[in-house]
Structure formats: structure tokens, C-alpha cells
């Protein structure tokens, strides 16, 4: 009984069914347990409700946008556009982050600048952001409360028909935690199911070689298949950062220009790249690390050969690195019917 102390306790209580995350074998073997808040366990009903809310356009003030508008399942829950526009046609200044493997963000800092702690708190933000859904939680709650289906769905998920913003965020978070990407070609290679091409293997070696790409210090490895450290780095995009990123959250000038390392999974779908979507192609990204680094007081020391502009890869090495990165593409994830709007 998950909500025996709820306001509905005098009624016949509905018992929601626990639905623990299906942890991929690779993750289970290599990583610590995912983060599931004790006050928001995964349940079938919570996930179902969260999914419905994720695609619900009435979360926005003019009923035109849902979470999926800027986090499209077909693009690994990202936005192909450099910046997303809100209901008033105003564009933001950050590229929409893809959504997957969120329960393995062990520091629980979300957004490019880490300003929200926890998936639930993150989920509260876009609804009221004036350049996104531009709504109020009071209005959202009233809208959902007035619709026939929602009170019953909330009752089944949380034991109450009285909807509030916290419960909406909890349901969204439960659904978002089910968005697990773990079946790329490289995952299958690690499990001994397929072979990589010579180019992909060479690209992986470049990725792991401190004297070449040296990508692994920030972007995971075969032993950390999240392909991100979920930390914040200044990766040499600008000599002077206009968007100061993490520093705006911490107030610390030494954090100027730091943004969260995104996962390298599903890059085939998640372009354009970087926090501001400045690079349209993977070639541009690789060229940046090879020749395009810009020195600044806060550039991460892990950026190599900054005075030369970067790690100086040959054209063949760049092609191999790209081939490896694309082996992290998870077609099953983007096509998973459980994640599509029904």
C-alpha cells in the first residue's frame, strides 16, 4: 500500500504496482545503483500518468506545446533545432538536452548549467518558464483537474484525486527515468554480440588515448557506459563566454563557461551540438577539439594542446573517431513504442 496515509484513506484505496527500473546488465555490472527518490518510487500507474503528461499540450498556456515538443522521442528526446521557441515564439539560448539514463546522473544536477537538483525539480521548470510553456502551475492544476481522465489517473498513481504541481513533477520524473538507452552497437560489442569495424575500433582507441583524443576523462568509457561524467567543464568554446553557464548558478567566476558534459550516446540524433547548438555536424565538433580550442582563464586543464588549438587529429583519425561515436547510436531506444505518443 503506497499511500495508505493519503487524504483518500477513508475510501477503498487503490494499490499501485511497483515497477522498478529495468536496469541493463551492462549498467548493473559496471555502475552503482540508479537514483530513485524514496518519496517517489517507480510504479506502473505513475509511469503511465507521467507519459501522458509528457505528451500533454495543455501544460502550456495556449495548449500548443508539450514536453515532447522540444524533447522529441525520435531524436533521443532532443530538438533538431538549435534553439527551441516557446509558445510566444521567443527562442531560448540553449539547445534542448536529450533525455535518457537520467537516473544515473549521480550528482542529480540537471540542465546544461546544473541549476535544478533532481528530475522532479527539473520537471517543474519548463511549465512556468516565460519563454517556454509560459503557464502557471495554478492554471495547469485547474486544467488537469477539470479533465475527466486525470483525477482518476492521479488517484491510481498517488492515492489522491487532488492534483498539484508536485505530483505532476513526480509523475513526469517517473516516466523520464524509464528512458534508458543501453543497446547501441558498442553496447552489443561490449556484450560480445557483435564486432566493431576497424575504423570504429581505431576511433575507440583514439577516444581512450591520452596522447590523442583523450575524450574519456570527461565522457566515460567502456567501464562507464553513460558516456558522460555528468560534470561541468569549460571545453574551450570561447575566449570570453557570453553565456557563463555554471557560474550563473554558483556565483563563482571560476565556473565561467562551464557546462555539463552531455552523453555521447545517440549523437546521430541529438545534433546540433554544444550547449548553444553552435555545431551542426559531428565533423565540426571533432574539428573543435582538434584545432579550434580557445584559451580562457577557466578552460578545463583536461583540454590538451590548447596553444596549438587542440589535439591535432589527422583526417583519417577524425573519420575513425566519428565512426566510433556513431557506434553509440541506439536505434532501439529512439524507436521504442513505450516512449512514443500513443
Amino acid at each position: 500500500m503506497l499511500f495508505s496515509c493519503s487524504k483518500e484513506s477513508k475510501e477503498e484505496s487503490y494499490v499501485s504496482v511497483l515497477a522498478p527500473l529495468q536496469i541493463p546488465t551492462l549498467f548493473k555490472n559496471l555502475l552503482i545503483a540508479p537514483i530513485i527518490p524514496s518519496n517517489n518510487p517507480q510504479t506502473q500507474e505513475g509511469i503511465t500518468l507521467g507519459k501522458k503528461l509528457f505528451f500533454e499540450k495543455e501544460l502550456s498556456a495556449d495548449n500548443s506545446q508539450s514536453c515532447a515538443t522540444c524533447h522529441d522521442p525520435k531524436t533521443a528526446f532532443s530538438d533538431k533545432r538549435r534553439f527551441s521557441d516557446g509558445i510566444d515564439g521567443v527562442f531560448g539560448n540553449r539547445n534542448s538536452m536529450p533525455l535518457f539514463n537520467l537516473a544515473w546522473n549521480f550528482d542529480e544536477k540537471f540542465f546544461w548549467d546544473g541549476r535544478s537538483i533532481g528530475v522532479e525539480r527539473q520537471a517543474l521548470q519548463p511549465v512556468i518558464n516565460p519563454i517556454e510553456m509560459h503557464n502557471t502551475w495554478k492554471q495547469v492544476v485547474a486544467t488537469l483537474q477539470s479533465k475527466a481522465a486525470y483525477p482518476e489517473l492521479f488517484y491510481k498513481a498517488f492515492g489522491t484525486r487532488e492534483i498539484d504541481s508536485i505530483l505532476v513533477a513526480k509523475a513526469l520524473a517517473q516516466f523520464e527515468r524509464t528512458l534508458i538507452s543501453s543497446n547501441s552497437k558498442f553496447d552489443q560489442y561490449l556484450e560480445g554480440k557483435v564486432q566493431l569495424s576497424a575504423s570504429e575500433l581505431n576511433g575507440f582507441n583514439l577516444f581512450m588515448d591520452e596522447t590523442k583524443g583523450d575524450c574519456f576523462h570527461c565522457h566515460g568509457s567502456d567501464k562507464n557506459p553513460l558516456w558522460t561524467d555528468n560534470k561541468f567543464h569549460n571545453n574551450g568554446l570561447d575566449a570570453l563566454s557570453i553565456d557563463i553557464g555554471l557560474a550563473k548558478v554558483t556565483g563563482d567566476p571560476s565556473d565561467n563557461g562551464k557546462f555539463k558534459s552531455p552523453s555521447l550516446r545517440n549523437l546521430a540524433f541529438t545534433g546540433p551540438y554544444m550547449h548553444d547548438g553552435r555545431f551542426s555536424t559531428l565533423e565540426e565538433v571533432i574539428n573543435h577539439y582538434s584545432e579550434g580550442l580557445k584559451a580562457s582563464p577557466t578552460i578545463d586543464p583536461l583540454m590538451k594542446k590548447v596553444s596549438l588549438g587542440g589535439v591535432q587529429l589527422t583526417p583519417e583519425e577524425k573519420a575513425d573517431l566519428k565512426a566510433f561515436l556513431l557506434s553509440l547510436t541506439d536505434l532501439e531506444f529512439v524507436g521504442n513504442p513505450a516512449f512514443q505518443e500513443q
Binding site: 583523450d214 574519456f216 567502456d222 567501464k223 562507464n224 561524467d229 586543464p301 590538451k304 596553444s307
Partner: protein, 252 residues
């Protein structure tokens, strides 16, 4: 018969007395850091405020290291590992204290640990906690884990602010990539005797400046990055590391 009764009473008394005085408690350790004796904390990061023995001004941007097999050895030379691994991340302020996994009888012990992981423990990919914080060493370098990741910036002879990555791992010679030759560059640190009593907190100190001066004077202008595959640099770092730790205060 009367004599036997008296003997039993005495034995019971002695036995009870011994049980009463043997107090078990968990061991508490704090890790502190200094630069030539001046305390170093997260708030000291990111500014060129330190000067190494070779004269380079430097900053600390990232500083995390691993110790293992933290061991107490009693007077009968019985060893008890009170914590198998401890990752200390000064910048993230994680792992700066530990409480032992086992309770120990009060008394006098020798405190020791391994800096890094010895060859027997330095197994590739087996520690989920270390994988999850990306502390791995690439398989092409033999796998296993970093012993220390110390990233920062320094004023070099080129007058620019340069990056450095003082990364300590097991030394590997990969002149022939198909036949890697290793040298175990983890090392034992013996801090001498401590007394476990009254839940005291034992301080383990690291003088970060020692990494740059003893016994080898470290020149960041020549050894600053891509040190992981540099066998000779790893041997030098290991040697310099042997003087960085000391026993600090014991506080109630």
C-alpha cells in the same frame, strides 16, 4: 570444597572484569591537505596561489586520489582492514572523512594504507563506485584505476598560463603495445602508532607540495600532461608521493 568455591568466584570475577574493560568502537579518520603547512581547501582552488619547489606558480582545479587497504595492526601483528577503498575528492569535498566498517577494541595500533591500488587489487572495471566517477585507466594502459587525478594550471617559462595533468597510475611501458610491461607504483604508507579510544578522530595529512620536490624536483615545463603513458614519470611520481602523508592531530 571451600577452596574450589573460592577459586570459581575468583575466576568469574576476573573473567567479568576482562569483558567489561574491552571496549569496541568504530575508527574515525579525517583527511586534511596542506601546501608546505598552509591548509588547502576547496576555496583555495582555481587561483595561482601555490609555488612549487621548481618555482612555478600553480593552481589546483581538480584534486582527487585513492587509498586502499586502510589497516590497523595490533601489538600481536594482527592486521585488520578497516576500509577497503577511499576516494578523496577535495574539490567536490567528498571522502574527506571515513568511519571504519568494523569496530575495533580500544588500544594501540599501527595505521597504514596503500596509496592507489596494488597490483592484486588494481583490477580492470570491477569497482562500481570508481567506474561511476570515471576513475578508470584505459585498457590500452593495462586498465585498472587512477591513483590520483591532479589537474591545474601553472605559469611556465613561456609566460603563458598552461594546463597540467598530474595523473598517477600504475607505471606501464607500452613500447610494444602487444606486450605491456608494468611496474606496481602504488606504495604503502605507514603512519606509525595511534591509540583508538573514546571515538577520537585521527587526522591523516597530505602535503601537496611534496609531489613536486622530494626526492625529484618536478619541472612542470617539461612534465605537465600526457603523463599516464609515461613510464618514467610514473616512477618519479610514485617516489615523490612517499613523503606526502603524515599523521596529524588526534581530536576527541
Amino acid at each position: 570444597m571451600k577452596f574450589l568455591k573460592v577459586l570459581v568466584v575468583i575466576l568469574v570475577f576476573v573473567s567479568c572484569t576482562k569483558n567489561e574493560i574491552e571496549v569496541f568502537e568504530k575508527v574515525n579518520i579525517n583527511f586534511s591537505h596542506n601546501w608546505d603547512g598552509a591548509a588547502v581547501a576547496k576555496s583555495d582552488f582555481n587561483t595561482l596561489k601555490f609555488t612549487n619547489a621548481n618555482g612555478e606558480k600553480l593552481s589546483i582545479v581538480r584534486f582527487r586520489y585513492l587509498i586502499s587497504n586502510i589497516t590497523l595492526t595490533n601489538s600481536e601483528n594482527i592486521k585488520t582492514v578497516i576500509k577497503s577503498r577511499q576516494l578523496i575528492d577535495l574539490g567536490e569535498e567528498v571522502g574527506l572523512s571515513l568511519t571504519s566498517e568494523t569496530e575495533m577494541p580500544q588500544g594501540t595500533y599501527k595505521l597504514s594504507f596503500t596509496f592507489g591500488l596494488n597490483d592484486a587489487d588494481n583490477l580492470d572495471g570491477v569497482y562500481q563506485d570508481l567506474n561511476s566517477v570515471s576513475f578508470n585507466v584505459p585498457t590500452m594502459l593495462g586498465g585498472g584505476y587512477h591513483f590520483m587525478q591532479f589537474d591545474g594550471k601553472f605559469n611556465g617559462t613561456n609566460t603563458l598560463v598552461n594546463n597540467f595533468n598530474y595523473h598517477v597510475i600504475r607505471a606501464v611501458n607500452r613500447a610494444d603495445p602487444t606486450n605491456l610491461i608494468f611496474q606496481d607504483t602504488s606504495f604503502e604508507v605507514d603512519l606509525g602508532e595511534i591509540i583508538i579510544r573514546n571515538s577520537d578522530v585521527i587526522e591523516i595529512k597530505m602535503d601537496i607540495s611534496e609531489w613536486f620536490k622530494n626526492p625529484s624536483l618536478w619541472d612542470l615545463n617539461t612534465l605537465n600532461s600526457m603523463l599516464m603513458p609515461n613510464f618514467d614519470a610514473q616512477v618519479l611520481m610514485s617516489a615523490n608521493g612517499k613523503s606526502v602523508f603524515s599523521l596529524g592531530a588526534v581530536t576527541p
